[in-house]
Amino acid sequence: MNRNVLPVLVLLFALVSLGSCTKRERHPMASEGLRGEAAVNLKGFHARPTPDGATVGAIFGTITAPLGDTLRAVKVAPDVAEKVEIHRIVQNAAGQMEMRPVPWLALPEDEPVELKPGGLHVMLFGLAAPLQAGKTVRLTLLFQDGGERVLEVPIRDE
């Protein structure tokens, strides 16, 4: 009996070490080639259909990182928008609302971070075409550990 268990244990140990090894390698400043799928949960991502003549758009949704992470950047294809940034709406000293670019977004451990109207959003500048309900926008989210997530964001009114 014991003779059968030992190889299994060794194999398990090897696998676990290998797993933690890849993780460590990916950690601080990962090179492009080492990118994997980031361990985050994305919920309710959607873009709002844009009014006629609008050149900007916004994407909303909720990100939860079970182990904590940082959203480093957001990307869309150039045929969607010229520029894309994370923005936060804040009230300035004069009591007016203004948008400020957020260079990075901390995702505390297991705490949902909501991108919602009046708060945070993914801002699309210079839309190549209006965002039409029923279509989708491909959005790439880049995280601290080099992981990324690509998602097809539905365009819908809510």
Binding site: R48, P51, D52, G53, H87, G118, H121
Partner: protein, 213 residues
């Protein structure tokens, strides 16, 4: 065996009653007479002010900040390159007007651009037209006119052109309801829900209809 259905009937009847009560309180139109928006003891007067109204394919016309007779005028200051606050507010108002139903045709919508440098008449007309038919896209002739109108409402904004060519726009994001005489009856904070907007609109439309002035 025979007393089981009776025992079941009482909780069932109770559950039905509870459900009925819950439904009535949650889904029925709110009957509370208290407005969600802010009122002032002495309403601001904006009826003496006017601005150029953009119309698609037609020359601009002049719009005066007053509601139709017995109606209400909704006013919001924004700009078309606004990704969040402006479409959220206009979208929520559209939802609210659908909730209001038949009386909603007594509500006019005016959207004033605080960024006339970038918002052409055509852009304004097309933008507001995506939300409402018969809305009033308003574009100030110059900065003085914008400031005068904003001052009357208590609104403010600033447009800053940055070195990299980007334009930053800051603006107050309240919505206003004006009556037929040009008095500002109500101010709603940004983010007031469509249900609350509809509640206040119904209440004020009913007041107008009742002639309790």
């Amino acid at each position: 065996m025979s007393d089981r259905p009776a025992a079941r009937r009482i909780p069932l009847a109770f559950a039905c009653l509870l459900l009925a009560l819950l439904t009535a309180s949650a889904c029925g139109p709110r009957t509370s007479g208290k407005l969600v928006g802010h009122t002032r003891p002495i309403p601001k007067q904006v009826g003496g002010l006017s601005m150029s109204e953009a119309r698609l394919g037609k020359p601009d016309t002049t719009f005066t900040f007053r509601a139709k007779r017995g109606g209400l005028l909704f006013v919001f200051f924004g700009f078309t390159n606004c990704p969040d606050l402006c479409p959220t507010t206009l979208g929520d108002l559209r939802k609210a007007l659908r909730k209001v139903g038949p009386g909603a045709d007594k509500v006019d919508v005016a959207f004033v651009t605080v960024d006339p440098g970038r918002d052409s008449s055509e852009a304004m007309a097309r933008y507001l037209g995506s939300f409402f038919t018969g809305g009033h896209p308003l574009r100030p002739a110059d900065n003085e006119q914008l400031l005068a109108v904003q001052a009357a409402f208590g609104a403010a904004s600033s447009v800053t052109r940055k070195a990299d060519g980007d334009v930053d726009v800051a603006h107050t994001a309240l919505s206003y309801l004006v009556d037929e005489h040009g008095a500002v009856l109500l101010e709603w904070d940004y983010g007031t829900s469509p249900a609350d907007l509809a509640h206040d609109l119904r209440l004020l439309l009913a007041r107008n209809a009742g002639g309790t002035k």
